[in-house]
């Protein structure tokens, strides 16, 4: 899958914002301590890049671990709940309740239990990623064409073969939708969690920059957060296009 050229126009609002920013700095709307010039932010990148890189690495690692664990739990669980009505009846309400609690609301509890460090942050990311993955996996399993399941049953296929050869691939597009939401949610959560519960990462870097009045570093941090978010999302899309290549033709047909 190639990214069409017109996609680049998606950056247009950002360029307008950049222009407005430069104009505001030149016009002196805010003192430069609050609103540094774009050039000052670039300078902050040049000056602090090892620090920025290390913090970005810490944040990305936490998200990968948290979302990874959530993936390993949610996909098998979602497949079972989606396949067996009885399991669905027992879990449905609980899932709806748990997923309504924003993980950020659990930060105080996470710190009480696990102190300051990687553990509370990863647990919060795990919780942020778990529900969208679980719900989308269940949804994907439910959407399976009934005829395919009949074919499998008439062929006297065992449950394991049905799960591996039919339910998992059929649910894959929906699992990827869940994964995109999970990575997005995990990324939001890691920055917040790092402002409170950890002493490294982009969230921590932004907060300390605020305490030392380095707004150029705050803005640099925000830009990195946005850029990584975009990269992660595009990466997931590419991966989905690879894994679910069989789906392309179906979508083209439906249109």
């Amino acid at each position: 899958m190639r990214v069409p050229a017109f996609r680049v126009f998606g950056l247009l609002p950002l360029l307008l914002l950049l222009a407005a920013w430069q104009i505001a700095v030149v016009a002196g709307v805010y003192p430069t301590v609050l609103l540094p010039a774009p050039a000052a932010v670039i300078a902050a990148f040049a000056q602090n890049w090892p620090d920025i890189l290390a913090n970005a690495g810490a944040s990305v690692t936490r998200v990968i671990v948290g979302v990874g664990i959530a993936f390993c739990v949610a996909v098998p669980a979602g497949m079972l709940i989606g396949r067996y009505r009885a399991l669905d009846r027992v879990t449905d309400w609980s899932i709806q309740i748990f997923r309504s609690v924003p993980p950020i609301a659990l930060i105080p509890l996470a710190i009480l239990f696990f102190g300051i460090g990687d553990r509370p942050a990863i647990i919060l990311i795990f919780l942020a990623a778990l529900w969208p993955l679980l719900i989308n996996t269940i949804f994907g399993v439910r959407g399976i064409d009934r005829t395919m399941l009949k074919v499998a049953r008439a062929a006297r296929a065992g449950e394991w073969l049905i799960f591996v050869d039919i339910i998992l691939p059929a649910a894959m597009p929906s699992v990827f939708t869940g994964l995109r939401l999970a990575i997005g949610g995990g990324w939001l959560t890691v920055v917040t969690a790092e402002m409170i519960a950890v002493k490294s990462g982009l969230g921590y870097m932004i907060l300390t920059a605020q305490l030392t009045f380095q707004s150029q570093l705050i803005i640099a941090g925000i830009i990195v957060i946005g850029a990584i978010g975009l990269l992660a999302d595009q990466g997931t899309r590419l991966l989905r296009a690879r894994v679910c290549r069989w789906q392309e033709g179906l979508i083209a047909q439906a249109e």
Binding site: D145, T147, M148, K150, V151, A152, R153, A154, A155, R156, A157, G158, L161, D165, I166, P169, A170, M172, C244, W246, Q247, G249, L250, Q253
Partner: protein, 255 residues
Amino acid sequence: MSSFLECIGVGKIYEGKSGAVEALRGIDLQCDTGEFVCLLGLSGCGKSTLLQLIAGLEPATSGTIAINGKALDGPSAETSIVFQDHGLFPWMNVARNVEFNMKARGVTGKERRARAAEFLAMTGLSAFHDRYPHELSGGMRQRVGIARALTTRPRGLLMDEPFGALDARTRGNLQEELLRIWETQRTTIVFVTHSIDEAVFLADRIAVFSARPGRISTIVNVDLPRPRDPNAPRFTELARMLRAELAPNLHGAPL
């Protein structure tokens, strides 16, 4: 001749929210080994329901169904089913789709590939073994469905309006191919259709259904030599007779 399939007093009642619906009542039907039997009727007459019961996908509410003298308890190892909407797996290429029923039976990989090649050749699909279902025409997809059903060398082939969604010419070609396969494989075929011409062209015997509740109103022997000519006087005469047999159902019963 020994009887391959025997239905005695088969009835099926669906318990729905708006009360019970009697789909089938008092079905008596027996098919000899190697016989081609069509179940003919208008939509909603229960002919497809009976096929589902024979395939072991649903239990009968009353009566017994026996295959090769053995009472049915779930899908039989001696039958295979082909559905109108083919039920191919879009994430598997043609070869893997054809291998699925053998995989379900635990046939080894080497034997699977050899037999898949054999039946792909028989259905004229050898050149398409690595294509995906969405790359194939409707007629070719149904060939894949038939090839998949044949790979387990079933003694009975159950077909649920397999050519119902195809254009007239493709349909005619597949009917002729099916007869060729039937003659070489010596399988018993139970074939559901709502097309009178199709039934007369294919069947040794035609079980005519009437609706609400579904029952067999008459069984007609097709005493025509093969290959059959749809323009022969006896062919049109049989077709006319069957049309009259189906006609009472047209009055009063909503379609």
